[in-house]
């Protein structure tokens, strides 16, 4: 039985097609201005790969726009299902998307037990890293392996992303100016310590997974592993975990005969 999950993120729309618990196709399309059109586009890409499909569940920040998908679920529930499907032993999963970071805790049955996302001052998100890379005039990938070469690292403490940026600027404009690798490490540590604070809120428990687009950033994941004290599992395509979860829920709903 074929089911589909759509995750309407703020920057990308992700679609996963599941056929009897096997991922048979997925696609990632930039959201652009008109979310609905891109969602339909992403749907066609995925569907074209293997004929028609009936059961679909949507999630993500832009979910309200996908009026053409009746069944909608919250991002945390979908993430829980997706992570459980990929790594059954995981208890704690960190989703670092473009817009926000969400940490979810699973209970023994693999269901969502608790979650935490950012307190009032939001920083430490994918967009924050993008802005920092732009400020340092280098691509994110280069910044991440540059950070591994740092001797010491300046403390970037302001919680607000905009002020964290002015702190970075003040490190650049300092006499003597702070070396670039140290600043890159400082940026990464400020992102990681925000994530650690969230993990400590829900309680750190082995095994740990990292999902979302930022999980592809090896420099960040290495620093996170050092801070959290254990290896973390990163799925092959970390961006589609929520969409995968939505597809799984679509299958469950079909069995339970739920359509609304």
């Amino acid at each position: 039985m074929k089911t589909i999950g759509i995750d309407a993120g703020s920057l990308n729309i992700k679609v996963v097609v599941l056929d009897d618990n096997k991922i048979t196709g997925y696609s990632i399309v930039p959201a652009g201005d008109d979310g609905t059109a891109s969602a339909k586009q992403a749907l066609e890409n995925a569907l074209v790969l293997q004929g028609d499909a009936c059961k679909t569940v949507a999630t993500g920040i832009g979910v309200k726009l996908l009026t053409f998908v009746p069944q909608q679920k919250s991002i945390t529930t979908c993430l829980a299902r997706g992570v459980r499907f990929l790594f059954p032993s995981v208890k704690l999963s960190i989703d670092m998307g473009a817009e926000s970071t969400t940490v979810i805790k699973l209970n023994d049955k693999g269901r969502l037990a608790d979650w935490a996302n950012h307190d009032k001052c939001a920083s430490g998100t994918g967009l924050f890293l993008q802005q920092m890379a732009k400020l340092m005039a280098m691509p994110i990938a280069e910044m991440s392996h540059l950070s591994l070469k740092a001797q010491s690292r300046p403390e970037i403490t302001s919680t607000c992303a905009v002020f964290a940026e002015s702190e970075v600027i003040s490190y650049v404009h300092r006499m003597p100016p702070t070396p670039m690798p140290d600043i890159a490490a400082g940026i990464y540590y400020s992102v990681v310590s925000r994530v650690m604070s969230l993990c400590k809120r829900v309680g750190i428990e082995k095994d740990i997974a990292v999902t979302g687009g930022v999980a592809l950033n090896t420099g960040l994941v290495t620093i996170l592993e050092k801070e959290i004290g254990t290896k973390v599992m990163v799925p092959e395509v970390p961006q589609i975990v929520a969409a995968l979860g939505a597809a799984i829920i679509a299958g469950e709903n079909a069995q339970k005969g739920i359509t609304q």
Binding site: D119, K120, C121, E155, T157, T159, S166, E167, S170, H173, Y189, S190, S193, M196, S197, K200, R201
Partner: protein, 389 residues
């Protein structure tokens, strides 16, 4: 190459001793040594906890302070939530990380929400053997003194049970003498800062005050005595563009004051519980028992912003401004430090009336003066100079 002679004060050797204590705190040489010899070390949180009683029982009182600079408080944010003052969170973070694991006891006082919640969470999450909370009234009436004295007796009794000894009046008198001596020496130090070109900067004074919370009082008095002699004969004179006073929330970071003084001003006095308010009044016996005299001193001492009526504190602040000929006041208030935040619309007009402007700074505990703070302080100094012209 242009040689600019930096005035390195090799003359104040004792100051380096104090800096050594501060840099190694909380695990300083003396504390580790005393612990190994079996001496009890008791942490206290607020200036309404009478240190003399701890000292008289033969234990070493140590003030619990947070990190020396602004750091990421991961655990404390998870345990105490982000909307509590960063002083409490910084202390809790050090406690949770085991930096104070050598403490045999923690004495709290119900002075403000931050302090009392730090005490609650410390008791709940950190296994320090002995805890005691002193309930402190917010008034100076006779009734309030009776209640506070009753609380001090309760504290002495429960502390005696814990230490397994009785604290005699003689022991209390000895402690009173040692602490009064310390207060007199600190007063002499501050008197030097009334001079036209004081021999000591605000940052150096904070180093001395910090060390004073972190070492045995007898040792501190000896060092401070030596330093005062060095100072009085050093002939060092610090010229300054403006004479400033620092007020507001609890602060222990000399770097913050240094970043102000690097701009050419001089911090000549303060109204902090880690400064003037700590040593201001001495214990006066005049016919009372030592315990009663201690109780009266601690409730009537230079008040914290929690006490009502606030005029008692404001008048003393205005006296400091006149005595030290202060040109401008820097009011640094930690976010979510409510007692001091509420005072801003009360104290600022009173200072304005005697034409002393106030610069309000919105800080976190342990800040050492970021780019934004430097800009505001520099603009403030330029404003003060323009006013003088």
């Amino acid at each position: 190459m242009l040689v600019i002679v930096e005035m390195i004060n090799t003359k104040l050797a004792t100051l380096d001793l104090f800096k050594e204590v501060n840099n190694t705190f909380p695990k300083t040489k003396e504390i580790v040594e005393l612990k190994s010899k079996g001496k009890k070390v008791i942490g206290w949180l607020c200036t309404y906890v009478p240190e003399e009683i701890i000292h008289a029982a033969g234990a070493l009182p140590v003030r619990i302070t947070g990190y020396g600079q602004e750091v990421e408080l991961e655990d404390a944010n998870a345990f105490m939530y982000i909307n509590n003052c960063s002083f409490s969170r910084s202390c809790l973070q050090m406690g949770l990380k085991g930096e104070y694991e050598y403490l045999d006891g923690v004495i709290g006082s119900s002075t403000c929400d931050g302090a009392r919640r730090l005490f609650d969470l410390w008791c709940h999450y950190i296994s320090t053997p002995f805890h005691h909370m002193i309930s402190v009234p917010r008034k100076y009436t006779e009734q309030a003194h009776t209640l506070y004295y009753d609380q001090i007796v309760l504290f002495k009794k429960s502390f005696e049970d814990f230490m397994g000894i009785a604290i005699s009046d003689e022991a209390l008198l000895d402690s009173v003498y040692v602490y009064n001596e310390s207060r007199r020496l600190l007063k002499r130090l501050y008197e030097l800062r009334k001079l036209e070109n004081p021999p000591i900067t605000g940052a150096e004074t904070m180093e001395i005050l910090n060390a004073n919370f972190r070492m045995p009082k007898e040792l501190f008095n000896r060092y401070l005595n030596k330093l005062l002699e060095e100072l009085e004969t050093s002939g060092i004179e610090h010229k300054c563009r403006s004479r400033l006073m620092v007020t507001g929330s609890v602060m222990n970071n000399p770097e913050f004051i240094k970043s102000i003084e690097d701009l050419g001003a001089l911090v000549v006095t303060d109204e902090l519980c880690t400064g003037t308010r700590y040593w201001s009044d001495t214990v006066v016996l005049d016919g009372r028992t030592p315990l009663n005299a201690i109780s009266r001193r601690y409730l009537d001492n230079f008040p914290c912003a929690r006490m009502v009526p606030s005029d008692e504190r404001f008048n003393r602040v205005l006296d400091l401004v006149k005595d030290y000929r202060v040109d401008g006041v820097i009011s640094q208030i930690i976010r979510y430090c409510v007692p001091y935040a509420h005072d801003v619309p009360l104290i600022t007009p009173r200072l304005k009336v005697i034409s002393v402007p106030t610069l309000g700074l919105d800080v976190e505990y342990g800040t050492s003066g970021s780019g934004q703070i430097r800009t505001r302080v520099q603009a403030f100094l330029e404003m003060l100079e323009a006013k003088r012209k």
